[in-house]
């Protein structure tokens, strides 16, 4: 065991022990207080931040899903509304067209009737006028004929005879 006496590491020296205590205590106090604790706190804060950010994202995603569903429902409703409106509009327009057609037809009919009755009236009037004119003409002609015929006495007598004959006959 002679070499044991040389093996200085197993014989703890008081000086090294003393300095070890001092340096380790300093390290613990200084670095622990001004570095380890702030680092641990910063890590804790970051962990919390990340956790809350993750929670937030999950919540946001849920919200988004809800909103999307809502949107979809709204869209479906809108689509339904649109088709209903279209249908209604079509019905309305069909009705209007039909009504218009009907109206036009009635109007045309009425106008036609009116025209017809007008024509009839005009015709009647014209006929009456023609009749009047024809009467006047006949009177005029008759007058002129009578004047011509009754210029001499024979003629007058003959005519009166004829007329009397005609009267007898009828």
């Amino acid at each position: 065991m002679i070499f044991l006496s040389d093996f200085s590491v197993i014989k703890p020296e008081f000086g090294l022990f003393f300095w070890s205590c001092i340096i380790f205590a300093l390290f613990w106090i200084i670095v622990g207080r001004f570095a380890f604790r702030p680092i641990a706190e910063a890590l804790k804060k970051r962990e919390d931040d990340i956790q809350s950010a993750l929670d937030e994202s999950v919540r946001t995603r849920e919200e988004m899903a809800k909103m999307k569903a809502e949107n979809e429902a709204l869209l479906a409703q809108a689509r339904e509304e649109r088709s209903r409106m279209l249908k209604e509009a079509k019905e309305t327009s069909d009705g209007i067209i039909k009504e218009a057609r009907e109206g036009a037809k009635n109007e045309a009919h009425k106008i036609l009737q009116q025209a017809k009755s007008e024509i009839e009236n005009q015709k009647k009037q014209a006929i009456t006028e023609v009749k009047n004119q024809a009467g006047l003409l006949a009177i005029d002609l008759t007058e002129r004929l009578l004047k011509e015929e009754l210029k001499d006495k024979d003629q007058q007598k003959k005519l009166v005879n004829n007329l009397i004959n005609d009267l007898n006959l009828s």
Binding site: L4, V9, P12, G15, W28
Partner: protein, 419 residues
């Protein structure tokens, strides 16, 4: 020294050396053997000790080389180069001495053997020793080197040997080394390494903390994103599972343990940077384990002490005879195992790496055979690379194990039982 006091250390060594012994003569201390045999036969010739003093050259001795490199010298050695460090030496009754270890005038390139004595202290293999004889000159004097005889050290001054005290240790000379009357508070290589790692880690974590402040709400970047996974790993896998709700209170302590041990483990593995063996030194692991011990027991709740002192639900006789003594022993065994585990793992790693590198010198016959050295290099380089990769893993594992066990002890102490 009787065998029983050394038993745990002996056992530890068997394990360490099973790993470390790769050469049959590993562990034989050539210098010791020769000096010892000569000294015992010619003990009355004191001059003979000094005749051999300073002759540390000669056969390559892997064991002493390895021990030298994992030790805690008063010089900062990077490869073969040595840099002076401040010495702070205190002797009760004589007062405090503060001076640079450069006063010993060791060689810049060498093993930290001081050529001069100063204030009654000498430098041997980078370690400060004190001359016992009070008549030894206090001023800076030229010495003839330090000799070893058995477990005793002598300094040769003026052709006469003066006995030296062992390095100051906490064991009171229990594990060899003899008595010491002075305390070495010097900024040794390990202390300087600790300060460097402390400064580096402080810078790293202050920078990271600043990034968190300035880049709030943004993704981590650069150094911040490099440290964050480790930080979160300790927080989520160690602190939260063991400490539950109240983890935040103890988290700075666990982080400090993990990163300081990891930093020192990794610092000791940087090649050509001194290879400081701080976490493989019992004094350091003892200090950190003591912190764990106090944090655990000062925070122990009523339930914890009830379980330790008087376990509920167990017959009184069994409690008194077995459970309570075992539990009380356990209070001390827990930090003790923390201390030994870290120390043994890191030291073993350093010794194995040094042994593999030592192969080059053993095969090369201490520089005599170039062919042998080349063969040694071919064998040793892949083994060393392999071992250093394993050590990188061990650096993380041991820091993690120390932290997770500390967390489990704290967790057990603060747990509230609901019966």
């Amino acid at each position: 020294m009787n065998f029983s006091t050394k038993f745990p250390i002996n056992f530890l060594f068997s394990v360490l050396f099973l790993l470390a012994v790769t050469y049959p003569s590993f562990g034989q201390h050539e210098n010791h053997e020769t000096t010892h045999s000569e000294a015992s036969s010619d003990e009355h010739h004191e001059g003979d000790i000094c005749a051999h003093a300073g002759h540390h050259e000669g056969d390559f001795d892997p064991a002493s080389t390895a021990f030298h490199h994992i030790g805690n010298p008063n010089v900062y050695s990077i490869g073969p180069f040595n840099f002076p460090l401040p010495c702070i030496l205190y002797t009760p009754g004589e007062g405090l001495e503060i001076f640079s270890s450069g006063k010993f005038e060791f060689d810049f390139q060498g093993h930290g053997e001081g050529h001069k004595a100063y204030k009654g202290y000498v430098l041997d293999a980078g370690t400060v020793r004190k001359v016992i004889d009070p008549s030894f000159p206090r001023e800076q004097v030229e010495i003839g080197g330090v000799a070893q005889m058995g477990e005793d050290y002598f300094v040769c001054y003026g052709g006469h040997p003066y006995a030296l005290e062992a390095r100051s240790t906490m064991d009171g000379g229990l594990f060899g080394g003899g008595r010491t009357s002075f305390y070495d508070f010097s900024l040794t290589k390990n202390v300087v390494s600790m300060f460097l790692v402390f400064a580096f880690l402080t810078w790293v974590f202050f920078t990271v903390a600043k990034s968190y402040r300035e880049r709030e709400g943004k993704a981590p970047k650069g150094l911040q994103s490099f440290m964050e996974p480790m930080f979160l790993f300790i927080q989520d896998e160690v602190a939260k599972p063991f400490l539950g709700e109240k983890y935040a209170k103890y988290q700075p302590f666990l982080m400090a343990l993990f990163f300081f041990i990891l930093g020192l483990n990794l610092f000791g593995q940087i090649p050509f940077f001194g290879g400081s063996n701080v976490t493989g030194n019992l004094a350091f692991t003892m200090a950190v384990a003591l912190f764990t011990f106090f944090v655990v027991n000062f925070n122990g709740k009523k339930d914890y002490w009830k379980h330790v002192l008087w376990m509920p639900g167990v017959p009184a006789a069994i409690k008194a005879v077995i459970i309570t003594p075992v539990e009380i022993l356990g209070l001390f065994i827990k930090p003790f195992t923390l201390m030994l585990r870290l120390f043994a793992n890191i030291t073993a790693g350093h010794i194995v790496v040094l042994s593999f590198i030592g192969l080059i010198f053993i095969f090369g016959n201490s520089g005599a055979s170039i062919g042998g050295a080349s063969l040694g290099a071919v064998v040793s380089v892949p083994l060393t690379i392999f071992m250093m990769s394993i050590e990188l893993l061990v650096a993380f594992i041991q820091a993690f194990v120390f932290t997770i066990l500390t967390a489990s002890y704290i967790g057990a102490a603060i747990e509230e039982h609901h019966h």
